[in-house]
Every structure is written in C-alpha cells, then in structure tokens.
Symmetry: C2
Subunit: 376 residues, 2 copies
Amino acid sequence: MAASVIGRRVEELTTPAFVVDYDKVETNCNMMLQTCTTMGVKLRAQTKTHKTIEGAELQTGGTKRGLVTSTLDESEFYADHGFDDILYGYPLIPFHMPRVTVLTKRLEKFHVMVDSRLAVQTLLETPPPSSKTWSVFLKVDCGNGRAGVWWEDEEDIDLALSLCSDPTRITFQGVYVHCGNTYHADDPKDVDALRDENIERLLKFVEKAKKRGVICPTVGIGSTPSCRRPADTMKKLNELHPGNYAFLDVQQSTLGSCSLEDIACCVATRIIGHYPRRNQMLIDCGFTGLTKQGEGKMPSGYCVIRDHPNLKLCSMTQEIGFVETVEGKLDYAKYPVGSLLFLLPWHSCATAAMYPVYNIIQNDRIIAVWKPTRGW
Amino acid sequence: MAASVIGRRVEELTTPAFVVDYDKVETNCNMMLQTCTTMGVKLRAQTKTHKTIEGAELQTGGTKRGLVTSTLDESEFYADHGFDDILYGYPLIPFHMPRVTVLTKRLEKFHVMVDSRLAVQTLLETPPPSSKTWSVFLKVDCGNGRAGVWWEDEEDIDLALSLCSDPTRITFQGVYVHCGNTYHADDPKDVDALRDENIERLLKFVEKAKKRGVICPTVGIGSTPSCRRPADTMKKLNELHPGNYAFLDVQQSTLGSCSLEDIACCVATRIIGHYPRRNQMLIDCGFTGLTKQGEGKMPSGYCVIRDHPNLKLCSMTQEIGFVETVEGKLDYAKYPVGSLLFLLPWHSCATAAMYPVYNIIQNDRIIAVWKPTRGW
C-alpha cells in the first residue's frame, strides 16, 4: 500500500491519514538547530514525537548524532539505522541492563539516565562491555515532579559522587533536566518564568555538586515550550533536548511556542455523512485516529479544524468523529460527503503514535512515506 | 522478538505489555455464542476491539463466518485469512467503492452498510462484480445518535424501498442497529431500559417498512452492554453483533456487563522508581500504553490496578505513569522497583489499539502472541 501513494494528491489518501508538511517540519528542525547555535549549546533531539529515521535526520541536521529517546525500542531502531550518540532518556532499572549492554557495545556513544541508588549500584556492579564504560547522565528534577533526584536534596550529590567513584565502570556525563512543567503554564509569560526557574535550580545543583568535587561535563535542559522561547539564561547550559518542536501542535500554540501555521502535522479525514436532524456531520476520524487528549481544551472541541473556525469536533467513538458548528446552522452544501477536513491535533506526540505510517507532503502531493517505530 | 516470548513467564515481558488471559477470552466468547443460541439469533461478532485472527476464531466458534468490522482494513485482513460473511459495518461513501468491489468479488458474502441516499444511488449506479450483487444492510438509528437513518422518519422507508428496487444490483439484507447509547446509561437498569427501547423502536421500523412492502430478512442489534444482559425481547430479532465482550473492561463492569474478574485483558507494567518526597511511584506505562480514556471515571484514576485497591494511577505522560495511594502513605517495601503491576483498562478497545502484539497467557505463562491488524 504505502509506496503506491507517492506522487498522489492528499485527496486520494485512505483516511484517516497522518499528514506531515515536509517544508514545515524541515523549518521547525532547522530553527531549533539555529537556536542551539545561537545559544552556543548542543542540540540533543528527543525523538519520541515522530519516532522516524527521516525526522531524526532533520533534527540532527543530517549528522545522525545526538539523540535522546523515550524507549529502548527507539534506541535500538536508531542504532539499527546508523545513528550514534544516543541517550536512552528514561530512568534506568536493572531489567533494562541486557539491552543496555548490547547498545553500549554496539554504539560509539550510548548513554543511560539514572535517578536512583539502585540504578547506580547496578551499573557499578555490572561489568561494562570490553573497552567500554557505562556512560551515564544524572536526571535532576528542578520542578517538573516526574523522574529525577530533587535538586535541593543533599543526598543527590552523594549519588553524583557515586557516579564518579569508579571511572573504569562509569563515565559521568552530567545532568539532564526535563522542564516539562512548562506544559502546565498558564500563559507564555509563565512558560518563561518556569524555564528560568528550572535553569536557575539546575545551575544551583551543578554549583553545589562542584563544591563537593563533582564536575558535570554536560548541563542540559529541555522541553519544546522552553526551547521555542529561548533566553540568554540558556547560554549558561551546554545542551538542549526538546522533541515536540519537529511537529508542534495546538497545545504548543496556546503556550506561545508557535502559531497554528507552524504546526507541521495534521490528520486528513473525510466527511462520511450529514445528519441535519441534529445539525451534525460525521467524519472518519475517531479516537484511534486522533486520541481524546484535546478533551475540554479548546472551544473547537478535540482539535482545531484547519480553515474552519466555526466547526467543532464535539465527540468521537473508535472510528467516527462528530462535527457540529460552534454557532448557527451547518451549511451542508459547503461540506459534501467524501470531502476532506484537516485536523490539527492538541498533542501531536499522542496523535502520531496512532499511525503506522506518515504521509509526507509538499505542494499537496505525497513525496514520501515515513514509518515510525512502535513498541517498547 | 515475538516468538521468543512463548513459554516465558509474564514477569519476563518487556513492559508495558498487553496481556490477554486465554481462558477468560475463550469463556467470554463462548458465553456470547451461548447467549445467541438461547435467544435463537445469529451472532455477527464485531472485531474492532481485538482485530486479531485468533480472537475472531473464538468469536465465531471456529466457523470463521459472521463478522462485522469497523474498517476496510479489518475486512481485508479477515478476508485474507479465510473468513467470510463479513459486514463492513461503517457508513458507505463512494470513496470506499474500489475496495468494496474487490471484497464483494473475493468473498462469498461481503456486506456493506448504508444510511444515505448518496450511498444507495452509488450502489444502484455501479455494476457489481460479475454474478454478484451488492449485499446491503440499512443502518437505523434507534436512539444512539451516531450513524443511521432515524427510525421515525418516513423517508427512510423510501431508502429501504430503493434498496429493494433492483435485485440484479442490490440484495437487501435487512436492518442493523448499534445501541451504543447503552454506554451512556446511568446504571445496569438503565442499560436494560435503553436496550429494550432500541429493540422496540427497531421492531416498529421493521413493521412500518413491512406495511410499505419492504421485508427485512435480518433484524439485528448490538452493543456489549445490551448483549451481556440478554432479555427475551431479543428473541424477536435474528442477529446480535456485540464486540467488546471478547475482552471486556472496567467501563463494562460499571454498566453491569461483567465483574472485574471477567476482564480478559490488562496492561503489565513495571515500577520504575520511588519518589517518597511526594508519596508517589512511577511505572513504565504512560498514555501510549493505556490511553487517557479513563480520565475522571474511577476513584483509582485512569484504570483499576488489579489486586491493589488502594493504588491510584493519577497521571500519565507519554511513557510514564504516576501512581499514588487513594489514602495514606505508600508502603514502598511492598512495591519494589522492577516488580509488576497489572492495569485493568477503562476501555479495552482503546488500550488494545496501542499495541502491535498481544501476549496470550495461561497459568501465568505466555502461550501465544496475537498480532492485530492496524490502519484503515
């Protein structure tokens, strides 16, 4: 099926279909590379939003070096396709060690992330592959409240010290912070404040570690809301690791990361029926084609329907979406059965995850099909 | 990867993993076949919940005959694997015709479903494959409020008459009702009332059609809440078409379809970290492993954590779940990092859709791996 769509128009796609505007994703990726150059920091691109080879090539500017992944499956997928300098950006537990060992052996630079005594002990007690060390980042929580050692806790420096205790086993790479709390900001100003708070706390942690003899070679932070709103405070770091910026989404637009026009992906869906008795029409995109993550977030329902500000996706079942007007009667003549609508997702990471293939378009023609990796 | 898990214990699985208890799914499928025998009706099993060959074999009692699918992809998948008598249970639009034509040609019995003048016109104007007719069900809306002609509208009988107007083109199979409004019931009694209301309305429609000369050979209804609570009113029908019953889920338990013990599927997830500062632990199941569909539905958060009524999945990001207690301090000694928890999903159709493979277990050992079809 997949190869046969190349050269076709979007109108010919089986729907629902995940559609990516090549020029926009390229622009988004180049802008982030430029931001990092301007800030004098390295970009370690998070791949979880798209999970494709082609997307990661754009994110790395063709170098195929410098990624952070959200699963071991992703790490292996990129290793299989010639990528290197990959950080498995997930709290390490002993169960991961067999696959981590293989990746450490295969790649020039494969890194893991720890936030617990158990993980550090496991690494210290497990011999790394011959002529290698375990390459390790310490995850620090500077306010996000998910994984990571809490930046204020003094015992965390003990953990960092342990990571430096046996250089034949562990190479300590530095600290990694996800400032994901920027997603809970009330407005763009609040994003900026949270970004700066995270950076300030991280730098305090690094300073405190230094006083106890721990040098952090890499000091990195990331999240698309913060990195799409770069500030001079970032120049004090040396690594950024956002991910969603490749595609962006409606959520990002509400956080001041982008405009709706910058969003590189959408779901193409067909109108499958008119139901004037209830002033609705149905489309062939249900929750398996979009997810329900936008619930209650937008006046236009579960997504923004591109170019149709008076339409609202008010409900979804597995394979069907219910569209009505925000206000007034639906003018069915404008929406023939079989015609397409384009849905801008609230959360592109979630929506992309529903698709086995992405249709890449340029000038309304499909120029490529990208196949994401799936599973764990 | 997949084959290698056969014979392994659940504790050895890469997590998150979708786990199906073979005995439970077999029991659920046999019970529904028994219900249909008792009611004297045919079971046309909806496949959308699992989308696997093995699941559909259990649903059809090994006959591989009598399915309803939610996508053309599913229809083709089952046709490829020796199934027949398949209804593509989705509002037909002209765009579907090329694939519908191939399926009509390939199968002994391939049926489509219509609810519009446009669809009927399209079928009447398109010559079916040689020696075949288009085999068509009319979808009737008896209160669900999604697809279907409204049961009270007199023009709908005109549509049914059109379906009978050219027997060289169209074989009219009868009427199909999805009583999905049973999912919005307040309690099991309300499920029963909605079930009976749908049946009553459907029978009135059939009667009205008969008066105008339209005979409906098949009169069918379906939804798991109604079919898991069968009633004598169903004996007046001749087809039932539930789907979720193969797996069931927490939502079904709240509707009186089952107990939590009947749920045949769950997500196996590992504890990846302890965060006593905030009385939480993290697990390796985020929204890509469960979906957020349970949001706000249960005191235990996004799912029910099997055997741990005091645990609550309070939040999720892409690959991480946040678990806390419903009440009191978390006793971390009971939940070592690396140990498993089993999540009963709110909506198994949605959760199953997140997985490229299902691990089938019997006595805590993996006996098979089922691969669902994906896409549209």
